[in-house]
Amino acid sequence: MENTILKIVNLSAGFGKNWVLKNINLEIEKNKVIAIMGPSGCGKSTLIRCINRMHEITSGAILEGRIYLDGKDIFLMPPVAVRRKIGMVFQRPNPFPTMSIYDNVIAGYILNGIKLKREERDRIVEETLKKAYLWEEVKDVLYKRGVFLSGGQQQRLCIARALAMDPEILLLDEPTSSLDPKATSMIEELIIKLKKTVTVVLVTHNRAQAARVSDYTAFLYLGEIIEFDKTSRMFTAPKDKRTEEYLTGKFG
C-alpha cells in the first residue's frame, strides 16, 4: 500500500499466559479514519494500546511481533517518543483535575517540561481548541478547571490535548461510549474533519459509528482480524461469513 503510515506485522499480545491478540497484520494509510470494530472482549483496546506502547505498562503484559511507524520499529524507539507521535483518547473523558482548560490543552508541554513563549502557548491553545470545535464554547472560561465541563466537552478537550502535541496518529478508544447521542455526533463530525491533519484509528463496538466515520474497517473477532477492507465495501459485501453475521447483528 502506498502512503502507509503504520504497519503491524505478526503482532500477538496478551496478559500472563493468555494471548488476547493472535498474529495481527494490518497496514494503515495516512490521513484516513480506520475503525477497529468487534464485540466486547475481542481485543480492540489491547490492539490500539499496543500501537502507542501503553499495553506494556500493565503488569503481566506479553507481546510479540513488530509495529512500524513511518518504516521505523516503534519497539526500538523510547516509549515516550512513540507516545508523542501517537496520541490517545480514552473511553472515559479524563482531563487533569488540577489544571485549567488552558493548561489541559498544553498539558503535554507542561508535563514534559517543554518551555513555550506566552504567544506560542496562546496560539497553540486557540488553534487546537478550534480544531477540536471547542473554542467557541470555552473561550471565556479558559482558566476554569476542565472537570467542570460537560462529558462531551471534556472528551473534546481530551482530543484537543492529544492534538496539541501534533501527533501523526490519533488513537481513539471508544471515545463516545460514555456520551449522549448529541455529544456523540459532534465527536463523529470532528473525527471526519480531523483526518485532514492526522490519521485516526478508532476503536468502536458500534457498527453504525464505524460505517458513518471510517474509510477502512477492521473486523476483530476473538483476537484475530477476520476482515479488513474499505468500509463501504465491507458493510455492503462482507467476504467472511462471521463479518456478515456480526454486521447483521447475529452476535456481539
Partner: protein, 278 residues
C-alpha cells in the same frame, strides 16, 4: 400489637444512641472546661513574652517552651514529610513482598510507645553528638510522625484514578514526571492534611522529649542545644511543689490545646478546600 412493639423498640434504640453519644462527649467537655477555666486565669501578655523565673519568685512566662515547641515541630516536619511522602508514593506504586513487609513495619512503627522513640532519639542523636538538643527531640518526634504521613499519603494517592496516569503517559510523559506532576498534585490536599495530622499527633508528646530535647529554662533557637517544650514544661511544673507553678502549667495546657485546636481547624479547611474533583 406487633407494630406498636416495633415502634417502641425503635424509639428506645434512638434514645440509647443519643444517650451514649452525649456521654462520650462529656469527658471531652469536662477536659476543655477545666483547662480553659484554670488556664485563662494564668494568661496575660507577659505569660507569652517572658521566660520562667526561679522557684519562689512571682510571675514568669513560657516564651522558651512556645519557641521550643515550634522549633521541635519544624524539625520533625522537615524530617518526616519528605521521607513520609516518598515512602507513601513507593507503597502506592509498588506491590510486592517487600512493600507488604514495609506496610507491616509502618504499622509497627505507629504502635511503638512514645518513650521508646525517646530512647531511639537518645541513641541516634544525643549519644553520638554528646548532648541533649532540639535536633534529637525533633528526630524522636519525626519517628512518631512518620507513619502518619506515610499512611495518609498512601491512602490519598491510592484514590487518584489510574486513568489520570494513563492520560499523562499517553502524552509522552515519563514515569517520574507523571508521579510528581499529575498523581501527587491530584492528592495534594490529602498529603497536606496527613502532614498536619502528623504534627497534631506529636504536638502534645512528652515522653520522647524527656531525654532528647531535655528542657531548658532559657530561650534557645539553636537546634543543637536543649530546648523546652510545652508538654515538657507542663510535666515538670505540674510535678513541682510550688503553687504558682501549677498555675503556669494550666496556662501552658491551655496554650497547647489552642495550638492543637487551630491546627485541627486548618486541617479541616485544607481537606475541604483542596479536595480534587475527579
Amino acid at each position: 400489637m406487633n407494630l406498636k412493639r416495633r415502634i417502641l423498640k425503635d424509639k428506645l434504640l434512638k434514645i440509647l444512641v443519643i444517650f451514649f453519644s452525649l456521654s462520650t462527649l462529656l469527658p471531652l467537655f469536662f477536659v476543655l472546661f477545666t483547662v480553659v477555666k484554670n488556664g485563662i486565669a494564668a494568661i496575660d501578655l507577659k505569660f507569652f513574652t517572658s521566660l520562667p523565673v526561679p522557684a519562689g519568685e512571682q510571675g514568669g512566662g513560657i516564651l522558651n517552651s512556645i519557641v521550643g515547641t515550634f522549633l521541635l515541630l519544624i524539625i520533625a516536619f522537615l524530617i518526616a514529610s519528605p521521607f513520609g511522602i516518598l515512602v507513601g508514593i513507593f507503597l502506592t506504586e509498588v506491590q510486592n513482598k517487600f512493600t507488604d513487609l514495609l506496610k507491616i513495619l509502618v504499622n509497627v512503627l505507629q504502635g511503638v510507645p512514645s518513650i521508646v522513640m525517646g530512647i531511639i532519639g537518645y541513641l541516634l542523636v544525643v549519644k553520638p553528638m554528646g548532648g541533649f538538643s532540639a535536633l534529637s527531640g525533633g528526630v524522636a518526634l519525626a519517628f512518631m510522625m512518620l507513619p502518619v504521613v506515610i499512611k495518609n499519603t498512601e491512602e490519598t494517592l491510592r484514590l487518584v484514578p489510574s486513568y489520570l496516569k494513563e492520560a499523562s503517559f499517553s502524552l509522552g510523559t515519563n514515569y517520574t514526571r507523571t508521579i510528581l506532576r499529575v498523581v501527587l498534585p491530584a492528592g495534594m490536599g490529602g498529603v497536606f492534611s496527613g502532614i498536619l495530622i502528623g504534627i497534631l499527633r506529636i504536638a502534645g508528646e512528652t515522653a520522647p522529649l524527656l531525654f532528647t530535647a531535655f528542657g531548658n529554662p532559657f530561650l534557645n533557637i539553636n537546634p543543637l542545644k536543649p530546648v523546652d517544650a510545652l508538654p515538657l514544661l507542663i510535666f515538670n511544673y505540674a510535678m513541682s511543689p510550688y503553687e504558682d507553678w501549677y498555675k503556669i502549667a494550666w496556662g501552658a495546657s491551655f496554650v497547647l490545646i489552642m495550638i492543637v485546636l487551630i491546627l485541627t481547624i486548618i486541617t479541616k479547611f485544607i481537606v475541604r478546600r483542596w479536595k480534587t474533583q475527579f
